[in-house]
Amino acid sequence: MSARYLRLVLQPVLPAAVAMGCALLLTGPARATDDYTLPFYDPAVSLLYGVDRDSRIGVQLDYTGRTWWDSSNHPGRVYDNHTGIDYPMPLHSPVAAAKDGVVAATEGGFGTQQFGQFGNFVRVRHSDGRHTLYYHLASRADGGIAVAFDDEVLAGQKVGESGCSGLCYGAHLHFEVLVDVGGDLVTSDPMYRRLWTTWPGRIPFRAAYVGENDAGTVTVRRGYTVFHWVEFKNIGGRTWRPNVWPGRVVLGTWDPVGHDSMFAAADWMNTWIATKVDEVTPPDDVGRFTFGIRGAPGPGVYREDFNLDAQGVRWFDHDDLGGFYVPIKVIQQLE
């Protein structure tokens, strides 16, 4: 039996992850709320600097409650008078909305790496009165701004691409949560206030393979259909739903993405979407995907590759997921 599921080695993370892990041990996990997710998809990205909760120059209060009586920068924690969270990432990394909302402002006229007082950004207004700001983005002409004023966006939806515009010493996302106080937008600290789905925050769409009803080669008689299911654990920050648009989580064909399948059965949603998630699956739950495999082609041994897709929002990270395919053997008659 061939190994159909290949788990990749976890990429090394910055020491910040260790610090956040320590914070988790000290404070305990927050209940999943599905409210806010991390504003990117890359699981290798980690916080480098958080919000300074003390406005005095030379006094820094980080998200763990530690005070630093200096103006030095402290990797993994904070630097003086910082109003957001810095996530280093390569130029043109996708940046995602942290929560459902409406685009309140955009700026894309500065160069992708144009250093200066002002840079490119997207700001989203949310139903809870908060705003989220995504700063230092690439220029609009360079694909840095993916939304327009007044657009409705979903949590996890791409709003732009990272850059290094404005006051920026190297490519990173400056993510900021603002509270509307009488018309003024005031900085808050999402880590201290635990706005994240969990503690620490999760990226929006991630999955881990759990199992299948038949983990070996699926044998199907030519012209017949066998039913198959596969389960994935929702390790992202967004609830998987079968009946929303956009954002419905489905199992689609992969490699190449969205190709017409030779094995599409009558229950498939179309020739490249095998099925949607069977039931609503919140973070930490396991979602099942049930679908038919029809022995349409001639006898032989095949494979079909799949990936999870939050439709209209994004495909899941197939490399992070480890890849999923079904070995299929089509026979003329039952053996």
Binding site: L14, P15, L48, Y49, S72, N73, H74, P75, G76, R77, Y79, H82, D86, P88, Q113, F115, H136, C164, G166, L167, C168, Y169, G170, A171, H172, H174
Partner: protein, 161 residues
Amino acid sequence: MRAQPIDGRERNARSWVLAEIGCVALALAACLGPIGTPTNTVGDATTAVPSPTAGPTTAPPGPGLPAGFPLMPGMRADEPLPEDEGLIGRWTTPANGAEVFDFLKTALPRAGYRIDLLGPGDTVAVIRFTPPGGQRLQIDLGQAGSGAGASTFMELRLPRD
């Protein structure tokens, strides 16, 4: 430990000698064509001419300074150093922080150092690196001043949390 200040006459003499070596090196480089990145052998960074396209200079030897530590052209050594245990050297440049960060990202590996952490922020950055056979060191970048007169400072130090 700190970098030792260099006497003015010694600095001038060294500059002339090293400038001549630099000219010879540049002439050789011009003859040989663009093979790799030209590395000036000018030992005194305070006399280097700022140029965004010039290759790195090398910091003069000093206590705690790793051999071959690259300096961006135009970097000026700040002396005397402020009282700060663990501070090895401090320099200032009119170049912006993004330019300095990009320079170091390339120049440190070329100098044979292993980069352990690249941490860019808004007006700060930290780079942790390890010279061959040496102990891990940290570079802090930050903004000095504001507006048109703003400059970027670079501190080389022992790592801190």
